[in-house]
Each structure stands twice: as C-alpha cells, then as structure tokens.
C-alpha cells in the first residue's frame, strides 16, 4: 500500500494542476474583457482623429466638427477613466497572464491619444467645455497616497461632470509618458497637472484641487 504522503502528494499535484488550469481560464477571460474595452476606446479616438483630419483637409466648417466631437468625447473619456481602475485591479487579480505589459502599454497609448485629441480639439475650436487633470502615480511600488488621491479624484469627478482625468504612471520607461513627466517636471507622486497650467505635488485634498479648477475657469 502506498504511503499516505505519496497519495497526498499526488492528490495535491492533481488539484494544483486543475487549479492552474482554472486560473489560466480566468486570466484569459479577464484579459479578453480588458482588451475589448481598450479596443473600443482606441477605435473611438481613431475615428475622431480621422474626423479632425477630414475637416482640415476638406475645409469643412469648424462648427460641425466641434459639436460632433464634444458628443463623442463625452462618452469616451468617462470610459477611459473607468478603464484605468479596471487595469489596476487586473494586475492584482491575474496570476499567469504574461501579456499584461503589452496590454498596459496599449492602454497608456490609447489614453495619451485621447488626451492629445482633446487638447487639439480645444485649440481648433477655440474653447472646450472640459477641465483637464493629469494624474501621475506609481505602479512599481505600492503607493497608498496614490490610491487616496484616486479616491479624491473620484469624488471630484462626481462633482464636476465636465472634468476629465488622465492618469499615467510616472515610474515607467514609456517615451510618450516621459515627454509629459519632463514637461511638467514631475519628480514626486502623486502629482496633478490642472489644465496644463498648475502642477500640484503630493497628495491633494478636494478643496485644494477645487481652488485651482476655479482659477482655471475664472
């Protein structure tokens, strides 16, 4: 009769294999879901970019474009911010997904594209109904202050429906993010940039951000 240790080891091995199979299925499902969401945003940004090109090339009136774009931007920017929260918990929840870094890069690119689109539109139309905040955080190490800042921004977003927040990790090697961090001279996280004008360093409470948002609109 085989020793109970051997039997237990075999039993454990089979349960572990089954477990990892289920984990891989779960990870794949999550990965697919997040890819689909990113693709959706990328497509929206792309269609807007084409529209922008079209109006410039075909010399259409800026009025049509501006009113159309504000409608699209509405939907899309809100989606992008929610996706950020998804991407963050996605990293925590997955075990086996090795494509995580690719997804993340794709997401940051999409986000950057969105931000630039909106800025370009603001320039082109001469005005924009939106306020922008760039939010720099850290991903390589745990950053409770960043999570706290995220909560503060969440509550601000509810207060200001026309507030658009774009979040970027400050501790990565992506060139397109480094362009931003060096532009605003970001050295500490969390840091916020309000409408390309004010750089706020360290954890900010609602009242402080509020003050700067008013300064921009006033």
């Amino acid at each position: 009769m085989a020793s109970p240790y051997l039997k237990a080891a075999l039993f454990t091995l089979s349960l572990t294999l089954l477990g990892f199979f289920l984990i891989s299925q779960l990870d794949a499902m999550r990965s697919k879901e997040i890819r689909d969401s990113i693709d959706e945003i990328v497509n929206l940004a792309e269609s807007e970019r084409l529209l922008f090109m079209y109006s410039q090339t075909m010399d259409n009136s800026s009025k049509d474009l501006c009113s159309y774009s504000s409608k699209v931007a509405e939907r899309r920017a809100a989606k992008a911010y929610e996706l950020m929260l998804k991407v963050q918990s996605y990293e925590q929840s997955s075990v086996l997904d090795s494509e995580y870094y690719k997804i993340k890069e794709k997401y940051y690119l999409a986000n950057m594209g969105l931000y630039l689109n909106m800025q370009a539109m603001k320039k082109f139309c001469g005005h924009s109904p939106y306020r922008f905040i760039l939010f720099f955080y850290k991903i390589k190490e745990d950053c409770p202050e960043c999570r706290a800042q995220g909560l503060v921004l969440d509550s601000l977003r509810k207060k200001y429906p026309n507030l658009r927040i774009f979040a970027f990790p400050a501790d990565t090697d992506y060139e397109f993010i480094n362009v931003l961090t060096s532009r605003y001279n970001i050295e500490t996280v969390p840091s916020l940039v309000v409408d390309d004008q004010f750089v706020l360093r360290g954890l900010q409470d609602e009242a402080a951000i509020d003050k700067y948002l008013r300064a921009v609109s006033g």
Binding site: Y5, A8, L15, I23, S89, Q92, P144, R147, A148, Q204
Partner: protein, 447 residues
Amino acid sequence: MEKNEGRHKRSTISIPQRRELAIVGMVVVALCVFIFLFISYKLIFLAYSVLSIFIFSFYLILWTEGANTEKPGPTPKKWPHVTIIIPSFNAKSTIFDCIRSCQRMKYPGKFDILVVDDGSTDGSASLLERLPGITLLKSKVQRGKAHALNFGIMHAKGEIVACVDSDTYPSEDALEKAVKHFYEDERVASVVVFISVNKPKNLLQRIQEIEYWISFGFFFKTIASIDGLYVTPGPTTFYRKDILQKLGGFDEQNLTEDMEIALRMQKFGYKIRACHETMVLTEVPDTLPKLFRQRLRWYRGGVMNILKYIDLFFNPKYGDFGLFILPTALGSGFFAALFMAWTFMSWGKGLLSWILPFGQNFSAGLGATAAGLGSGIIMFQSAWILGLFSLSLWGYFLIKSFEISRTQPKWRHVLPLFCLLWVYPFFIGFVFLVSYIYELFGVKYSW
C-alpha cells in the same frame, strides 16, 4: 504537604534560553521583511495554498484509510482502579457540577475522586470539606495546577488517573470508554477524550465550540491514528499512573503542562490514544480579553515547549510525529503570525501616509487607509482558486467534525462558522504574533 515534597521526584526543567528565542524571533522578523520587500503577496498566497492542500489531503487520506472508524478498545480482564484528580483553585461556581458529573460516571471497576485544593481564597475549600464521597487534599498557598496534579498523583490509589479540570463535566460513559483504550497496546500512557464546549451562551463561545469540534474532533482523531498527538488536553485526560511517575510527573514551571507531558511521552516512546465515543464538556472564556489571556498562555507555552523539545522536530527517529505532525503544527502558528505581521505592516504603511504627509486633511488620509485595506477584495483574484480548494477540504473536515460531535448542522451555526472562517483567524494570528513577540523579549508571564 511540605513533608512529601522530598519523596516526589520533580521534573527537571530548563526554561528555554533567550538566545534560542532571539534566533527564532530574528528569523520571524527577517522573513517578514523579506516577504514584504521582495516577494509578492500573491506568490506567498499560492505557495501557502498548495502547502495547505497537501497537509489537508494528507489528513483526508488518513481519515479515509481508517481514522474515520470508531474502534472501541478491548475490554480488560480486570477493570483497573481509577482515581479522578480534580485540581481546584477558586472554582466555587463550577466544581460542584464537576464533582457531580464525575460521581455519576458509570464504571464496572472501582473509582474514587480526589480534589486538590490549590490554596483557594474564595472559601470553596471549606465547602468541599463537607462533601461526602470525595477525598480532599489542601495546599495553604497557590502553587499552580501542575503542582496540584503532581500532589494528587502522589496520593492517588488508582492505576489509572484521570485529570479533570474543575470546570469540566465528563459524560456518564467517559470513564469506561476511555479506560478500554489503555488495553490496545501496553505502551499506551495516556488517553485523550473528545472535548466540547459546555452550553455556549454568546457568539464567542459558539465560535469556540465549532473550533473545539474541529480540532479536538476531526484533527485529534486523525492525528491519533498515526500516534501523533502532541497535547493531552488539560480539561480531561487519562494517564497510566506508573508511567506518569516514571517520567517525573507534570512540569510545574510550564505554561502548558498538558502539552509538555505529551511531548515528553512521545519523546520516550509512549503512545497517546484518543477516544471519541464519549464527550466531556468544558467551560470556555466568554469575553475576548479572557480568551486572549487563555490563548496567549497556550501559544507562549507552545513556543516554550517547541524550544524545549526542538530535538524531536524533523527527527526521523520519531517517524510521522517528528517529520510531519510537529512541523505542521509549528508551521501553522508561524504562518498565522507571519500573515498578521504582513497585514499590520501594510496597515501601518497606510496609517503612516495618513499621519505624515497629510496631517491636516482627515478625509483624504482616511481614504488611504481604507484603500489599503480594501485593495485585495475589489475583484475576484485568480490566486483564490487554490485557496478555495483547501477551503473545500476544510469544509469536509467540518462536516465530519459535526458528525463526531453528534450535532446536526443548523442555521444557528452559520454566523459562528462565518466568524470562525473570516474574523477569528485575525484574532488567533494576532495572539500568535503577540506570543512570539513576548517570548522574544522575555516578557514575564502573569497568571
């Protein structure tokens, strides 16, 4: 009593030296820091899950390969005389019920009850004096439970002694059923019985009730099947008197003399059997501070005795007991403390960001702490699947434990069970952590 002192061979005790404790403590701290800084929590969780699946499936296999069957011991040719020793210290509220349950026990042979009053100050001694049918031994000053037991053993007439706590109530058939198990093997030095909680009144006691069913029920039964018991629980355990005396009696300077004697019996090759055909009921702490004090004593005693018997660990000479049972027993407490340290460290970090960079803003800082706490449970994590597997095995043990306790699972068990799974481990982990810290810094134990 003083006169008898010399005749009684006292056990030789060495209080573990601080140097060994310091080493253990430093290893704990180093591991915490290492895990915290270099290994992701996810990885530790996976490793821990696989390990617990292995340990649980080992128990599952033992259970299905024989531990599950009830085997009453052989009937002895001549029933031995049994002396029931009840050490009592200020036990006015429970001892009379205890004595009554003991007197009501049915036993084909002879048995007598010996109450050792350990210098009670509540006047219980004078009440006990008037009780018929018991022998009372009195000590002027309090010298501890182990001393009272040793004193009782010296005066015991029986070949078998049953050590019964003054707040424990054995059932009628306990004596007969337990004694039979001594005749399974001549090296059986001790028989432990299934211990449950007497009339749990509040949630805390209901949680402990299920905890007792699982540990004294399923796990004791399974561990006993490979002669691996490392505790002969204080509430009620039967001993062969001559072996107990040969070993030198209970260790009077030990925090958990019931664990110490079990380890000593294992070390000298004696066997400890378990009897689950009967049940004894015991009182358990009804408030958290009381429970904390009780567990602190258990776990500190555990650390002490592990160090005292460190030569048994991973010692092939002791078979399953040395290679599997002791290391996993040590490991589970150790992991509990480690997880607690990890949790406290991440809470501390959240708290630090609340105090330091943002003292003036309460709400944002509080958010940091809350976010730190909640970050793990926002989404279902893949790593939990393996955790679910070990939880299911535990669930099977739970069902078997209900069967051992002869209780039908009812709705009223749901809340205590939920707490036992999700709240209680934090408490236990915390006590483990405190006991390691106390032992490390040599905090004096107050009874």
